[in-house]
């Protein structure tokens, strides 16, 4: 395996939830056809608003839920069923950090228990003293010192930031190659977010972990990530190097997302309300046809309503392609083709009506 091959890859992964209404059955398309690759030593951010399916991706990658369709590949190998030795091995390589540090630690167990369990589950057999020493080393690695004191504490004695560090230490205990961080700082006080983010960045860049950073905050993604993927209504709409995506957003949704974040440098009236005036995020049990953003898109064209746009390249750099799934960026001929196709598709219908 080459070093620049992805460690963990999702290929066309979809996750649908069945919903039962009275007398009606439906499906919520939480995630549709998402392809994502995580690389060693790189931080990949998935950005999107609430309900866009970004946490679902993390849960599918952590194998807490099975994908409805699509495939996960670890080190290039397709992963098997979630049981047995192979599944354990997967969990030993892919670990998750949960969003809410107040919910992700068991209130009755000590910090030591939380970190020692994964050590005992995944590591080689060790004596009690060795496990204890490793727990202390892990606590020091996430800057919880004096480690001896923290090991004895229970979650309710810790602050949100300290709990999140315990959570990170627990994930690191299995020596994973991939770390999935589902909004790791959104429940933390603003003043301590930077510390946790810097810790994660150190783990990603210095220790060579592949890190997935899920967030709704595109500004932190720019600060923190190497690559940014923007998600809307269950689909990825734009992706590429963090600088390119945040500085020259190609997809109208990304532009609105960036505009909606307050920025002291930007002059004039803040116009974050534009997307809201164009309506709410769509109901994913009945997603819009074509491009899912078209009902809210200020630049929507007829073709957007008809066909879902594929990925179009809009530039590159930093070894990664910058792409957007938007008809605005279709090469001329393809745009025409799509429109012709659309006309053909409509033709039989119109004749049929006559």
């Amino acid at each position: 395996m080459r070093p620049d091959d992805p460690v963990l890859e999702a290929r066309d992964v979809s996750r649908h939830y069945p919903v039962r209404h009275v007398g009606r059955r439906g499906v919520v398309h939480a995630v549709d056809d998402v392809s994502l690759a995580l690389f060693r030593g790189r931080i990949t951010a998935v950005v999107g608003e609430s309900g866009s399916g970004k946490s679902t991706i993390a849960r599918v990658l952590a194998r807490l839920e099975p994908p409805t369709s699509g495939e996960l590949r670890l080190d290039g190998e397709p992963v098997g069923k979630p049981r047995g030795q192979a599944f354990r091995k997967y969990l030993g390589q892919v670990q998750m950090i949960f969003q809410d540090p107040f919910a992700s630690l068991n209130p009755i167990h000590t910090v030591e228990h939380h970190i020692a369990r994964p050590l005992k589950l995944h590591g080689p057999p060790r004596s009690k003293a060795e496990v204890h020493a490793e727990v202390l080393a892990l606590l020091e690695r996430v800057s919880l010192t004096p480690a001896e004191q923290f090991a004895r504490k229970r979650p309710h004695e810790l602050s949100g930031g300290q709990r999140q560090r315990v959570s990170i230490a627990r994930a690191l205990a299995v020596r994973p190659e991939v770390l999935l961080a589902d909004e790791p700082v959104s429940m933390l006080d603003v003043s301590i977010r930077l510390g946790v983010l810097n810790l994660l960045q150190r783990l990603g860049h210095d220790d060579g972990l592949a890190l997935l950073y899920i967030t709704h905050d595109i500004a932190s993604a720019r600060y923190f990530a190497d690559s940014v993927q923007v998600m809307y209504a269950g689909r990825l709409v734009e992706g590429g190097p963090a600088e390119a995506v945040t500085q020259e957003p190609a997809h109208p949704y990304t532009r609105l997302l960036i505009d909606s974040a307050p920025d002291p440098d930007r002059r004039g009236v803040l116009d974050g309300g534009r997307a809201e005036r164009l309506g709410e995020a769509p109901d994913l049990s009945d997603p819009p046809s074509g491009c899912r953003f078209h009902p809210r898109c200020p630049l929507a064209m007829p073709v957007c309503e008809e066909k879902a746009p594929p990925k179009f390249s809009v530039g590159g750099g930093a070894g990664e392609e910058h792409w957007a799934a938007c008809w605005l960026h279709a090469p001329e001929e393809q745009q025409e083709q799509a429109q012709e196709q659309e006309a053909q598709d409509q033709h039989p219908m119109t004749t049929g009506r006559r």
Binding site: A103, S104, P118, H122
Partner: protein
């Protein structure tokens, strides 16, 4: 101005260190009272039959005598010593309580947690079973079942009581398990690779502690009352003495109408006291598990006291200043 000062004092007044020391459960006055009373009855259950002055079945003494030096709690119509009956009966009643509560709680946890955690058709079947046992009237079923097990002493009765008494607890455990199983820390345990069995026993069940304890205490009361009811109706074991048996004979001999209060009040009071002590322990445990219940009342009391003291001090200072 003065009001602000008062509030600030009340809030910043340090809580006395005394309140933080000791076994947590015993910090609450209610729980302490309950534990002391319950402890006395446990002691009686252990040593009662040994310290009983007479054989409780021994007839031939003075008949229907009110309490005296020779018979501290008087005698029955057939000349048996009531104190001996109450002391000997303590062991049976408490044993039925302990055994029935333990068995019923174990059943409730087993069925409730399994239903809640496994879900699917397992949950459907176990929930249906629980609901059936919930709607069956407990006492008639108990009477029918004890009829089958005639003459077996106290143990079959305890088993029957636990079989009829587990369903309510199982429903509680199931509901709480449903709420806990989707907590992030359970998901995190799964994401780390814990096996389901260990997740349930190590991560989940300890968090059910509060309702398991309260379920145990309630089943304990329920078992003692049911055993007393059965014996009172003459359906209990007639070979062993329990508080209910004494009550049965008292009722049979119209102790009420003849005014022989020393015959029925002691066993009745024992049953009431055990029930009350368990309820008190439960209140205390409740306050412990849900700190919002207790300390607020205490804090308010403390704040009011501080306010009063300050007002008094201010008043005194004012009086001194005027002349």
């Amino acid at each position: 101005m003065a009001a602000t000062a008062t509030i600030v004092t009340a809030e910043t007044a340090p809580a006395p260190a005394k309140a933080r020391r000791g076994i947590p459960l015993l910090r609450s006055g209610k729980a302490l009272t309950g534990v002391v009373i319950f402890g006395i009855f446990i002691l009686l259950a252990v040593i009662g039959p040994w310290i009983a002055p007479d054989d409780p079945s021994q007839t031939g003494g003075p008949v229907l005598q009110s309490p005296s030096g020779a018979h501290l709690l008087g005698t029955t119509q057939s000349g048996q010593d009531v104190l001996s009956q109450v002391l000997t009966g303590a062991r049976t009643s408490m044993l039925v309580g302990v055994v029935a509560a333990t068995l019923a709680t174990a059943l409730a946890v087993l069925i409730g947690v399994t239903a809640g955690y496994v879900g699917g058709w397992t949950d459907d079947i176990l929930s249906m079973l629980t609901n059936i046992f919930l709607v069956i009237p407990a006492l008639p079923l108990t009477i029918v079942l004890t009829g089958y097990l005639e003459g077996g002493g106290w143990f079959p009765i305890a088993v029957v009581i636990s079989v009829t008494g587990w369903a309510f607890g199982a429903r509680l455990q199931r509901a709480q398990t449903l709420s806990l199983r989707n907590r992030d820390y359970i998901k995190a345990a799964r994401a780390v690779g814990e096996r389901p069995w260990r997740i349930v026993t190590v991560e989940l069940v300890p968090n059910l502690g509060a309702i398991i304890i309260s379920g145990f205490l309630f089943t304990f009361i329920f078992a003692i009352l049911t055993e007393a009811s059965l014996s009172f109706l003459g359906l209990g074991s007639m070979t062993t003495w329990s508080w209910g048996t004494t009550l049965y004979w008292a009722q049979n001999s119209s102790a009420f109408t003849t005014g022989a209060w020393w015959w029925y009040v002691p066993p009745g009071l024992c049953i009431a006291l055990v029930g009350a002590s368990l309820s008190l322990i439960n209140f205390g445990a409740d306050e412990l598990m849900n700190p919002r219940l207790a300390p607020v009342a205490k804090r308010n009391r403390k704040a009011r006291r501080a306010q009063r003291r300050q007002a008094a001090a201010a008043g005194a200072a004012g009086k001194e200043a005027t002349p």
